[in-house]
């Protein structure tokens, strides 16, 4: 972003990579897949790179409103400094925070989750998917809480799966009643409280009930939780967990 700004250019959209997308080895693949899709569609995008910082979501949900608002203040200063108007992100937590919680702190942007953004690119004909990599494959989709219930986005990710010519099989608990993967509310960063089961195992079992070939996710944290769940069930050879960006990139022969 800094380089473009120095040249006096404004990108079409800012890609907010997020902490997971920047540092987590698994999530980095999602970041790259989405970047390739943007390049293929000819979208002029920028990233903040080293100027990006955590949105503050896990701090806020853990109860540290102070740290959250400090993070927000810094990020908003950077975003407003570059005159950013439109943001796309592959993380529903960043998406929710930027879209819903930053406006009240002086950060007003048009914020899109990458599934909606990709849906628009396909609709506008900027991104075409040839090759039937996933034709007829059984794919089940896990609704991330912060995309689904939190922001009412259920259709865009499903529309993308249909674009793949794949067979979308729904889990018993889906859409508004989708079961959490167990990572939200800062749970990702701590051990779970005492119980008789891990939430990600419960969700993985439900996903396995649909006899899928692929479990599609739309959140780097859900991805981790489900990947761990599948490994726990020793099914990682047969069943893969992919983000929708990765599925689309594979279908577009970008990987």
């Amino acid at each position: 972003m800094a380089e473009l700004a120095a040249e006096g250019k404004t990108p079409e959209v800012l890609f907010w990579v997020g902490c997971a997308g920047s540092f987590d080895d698994r999530a980095k693949k999602i970041t790259k897949a989405f970047a390739r899709l943007l390049q293929k569609a000819g979208v002029g995008f920028a990233v903040l790179g080293t100027e990006e910082s955590c949105t503050g979501d896990p701090a806020k949900r853990a109860g540290n409103e102070f740290l959250f608002q400090m993070q927000a203040a810094v990020n908003i200063q950077v975003l407003n400094g570059y005159g950013v108007r439109k943001i796309v992100t592959t993380c529903p937590h960043c998406f929710n925070t930027l879209k819903n919680e930053y406006p009240g702190l002086g950060g007003d942007y048009e914020v899109m989750h990458h599934t909606r953004f990709l849906q628009d690119l396909i609709r506008e004909g900027r991104l075409t998917l040839e090759g039937g990599t996933f034709k007829g494959k059984r794919i089940t989709y896990h609704d991330p809480c912060y995309l689904g219930r939190a922001n009412g986005i259920y259709e865009a990710p499903r529309a993308l799966i249909r674009q793949l010519d794949a067979e979308l099989v729904e889990m018993k608990r889906c859409k508004t009643r989708g079961l959490c993967c167990g990572a939200g509310g800062a749970q990702m960063f701590k051990e779970a409280e005492k119980g008789d089961k891990e939430i990600n195992i419960e969700r993985t079992e439900e996903a396995l009930d649909t006899r899928p070939e692929v479990v599609a996710a739309a959140c780097p944290f859900c991805n981790t939780m489900l990947t761990d769940g599948i490994k726990n069930k020793e099914k990682e050879q047969e069943i893969k967990v992919f983000d929708l960006a990765e599925l689309l990139a594979q279908a577009a022969d970008l990987e």
Partner: protein, 445 residues
């Protein structure tokens, strides 16, 4: 002596309504202990929500069987209240079936009340079976032990008895009309009680009058009793569902409000001209408490919600933490908030209005930290609630107290927050490495 029944009726009515309004005043006083909130967003949207969710029962039917049964009891309750209006007028004036002049309309009304009453009896029996024979898991969670369980059953028994009294009254009336008894005007259609009346065939007019009067009195006294039972019961939802849906947040569920008190602090920290050593003005109010450790720290909307909760447990049955055996139950969060608020309210009544700290609070004495830290903030509970209660907001406010006032977060979360503070990410990675993904192997973005 002629007016004795009228006078007794008036006394019962005044006592019943008077006691009820005393309790409603207490309820309002207790809710007002909470922090004030101004409703945001368009009011028209709020009215629409109330019409859709409370009046229209939109979220009840997400679970079709319970939804339909509830709809029957709900419609029955509202419609049959037209009959209560007639009973009150009759009781005060000494008339009998004062609305009889409506003719065919009256026949239609009484006929539909009867059918509804029968349907309510069926629904109530099915509800009882679901609780006590089928034993649906959500009715048998730990927080349902004791009074909550009895309360739920009592409500069903009272409704059952009230409907039976209503039909008995009509059945006796029907027989008396057949016998052409004076004072019993020929009015009404009795599709259900006419069948019941066959059991009264052998009875004399005098005993029928006794039966009819007894059922009539017990029915109206039962209704006045039930009205006053509400305040002591989870059944308050029949009234509070309406204001609660009106006051419910209009924002996307994912949005958690930005604390104003923190906003001021952060603005001060970010202001290069602020004097870090400035002493607060002598008349400055004491710094606001961050988050909530007791009911007075919560908002009025949260306290209203605590009274509104009818302990159906849909939230708990959808909660991922509860489903995997953790202690957290969103329903218990609401029940605890209400029970603590009632405790504070009772102390206020006893002391004449002045609050003396009682050494207890909502945190730890009611809601444990283990429950609070088990939440994934997934919003399944708020989505499931048929009357738009938000247990998650209470959990978050209590976490805020633990973290910002007590520095009592689980140590792993402290590590995470330290990382966010120092490297701008929840993990210990260097911010300067944020763009490394772009240069790793093939791509250059």
């Amino acid at each position: 002596m002629e007016y004795l029944p009228n006078i007794l009726f008036l006394l019962a009515l005044v006592a019943g309504v008077g006691f009820f309004s005393r309790n409603i005043h207490r309820l309002i006083r207790n809710i007002r202990l909470g922090r004030e909130v101004t409703p945001e967003g368009p009011r028209s949207e709020r009215w629409k929500n109330m019409a859709r969710i409370a009046l229209g029962q939109q979220k009840m039917v997400v679970r079709p069987l319970a939804g339909i049964l509830h709809m029957i009891v709900y419609v029955g309750f509202i419609i049959i209240n037209i009959e209560v209006l007639e009973i009150i007028i009759d009781g005060l004036l000494g008339t009998h079936r004062v609305f009889a002049f409506l003719g065919p309309v009256y026949d239609f009304l009484i006929g539909s009340f009867e059918i509804l009453a029968l349907l309510v009896i069926v629904a109530v029996i099915l509800f009882w079976l679901r609780r006590n024979v089928v034993k649906l898991a959500r009715f048998w969670k730990p927080e349902m032990k004791g009074w909550p369980k009895k309360d739920a059953d009592w409500i069903l028994y009272i409704e059952f008895v009230l409907m039976c009294l209503f039909l008995t009254m009509n059945a006796a009336d029907f027989r008396l009309q057949e016998l052409g008894e004076a004072h019993y005007v020929q009015a009404g259609a009795f599709p259900v009680s006419s069948i019941l009346a066959q059991a009264f065939q052998g009875m004399s007019a005098a005993s029928l009058v006794v039966l009819e009067r007894a059922a009539w009195w017990l029915h109206i006294l039962g209704i006045l009793f039930f009205l006053n039972y509400l305040y002591y019961s989870k059944h308050l939802h029949i009234l509070l569902a309406f204001p609660n849906t009106w006051w419910a947040s209009l924002s996307p569920k994912g949005e958690m409000g930005n604390l104003e008190s923190v906003k001021r602090e952060v603005a001060l920290m970010m202001d290069p001209n602020a004097d870090p050593f400035a002493a607060p003005a002598a008349d400055a109010p004491p710094p606001e408490k961050f988050g909530a450790s007791d009911v007075m720290d919560l908002t009025r909307v949260q306290l209203l919600a605590a009274y509104t909760c009818t302990e159906c447990g849909r939230c708990t049955s959808e909660c991922p933490a509860n489903q995997t055996g953790k202690k957290l139950s969103p329903r218990k969060i609401m029940m605890d908030t209400r029970d603590r608020l009632e405790e504070v309210g009772r102390a206020l009544t006893a002391s004449g209005g002045a609050w003396e700290p009682d050494g207890k609070q909502l945190l730890d004495d009611y809601i444990t930290r283990e429950e609070l830290w088990a939440c994934t903030t997934c919003n399944a509970c708020t989505e499931a609630c048929p009357v738009s209660i938000d247990p998650l907001s209470i959990i978050l406010d209590m976490r805020r107290y633990l973290v910002m006032e007590q520095s009592a977060a689980p140590s792993e979360l402290n590590v995470m927050m330290g990382n966010v503070e120092n490297n701008g990410a929840p993990w210990p990675f260097n911010q300067m490495d944020r763009l490394n993904w772009a240069s790793e192997n093939e791509t250059s973005a």
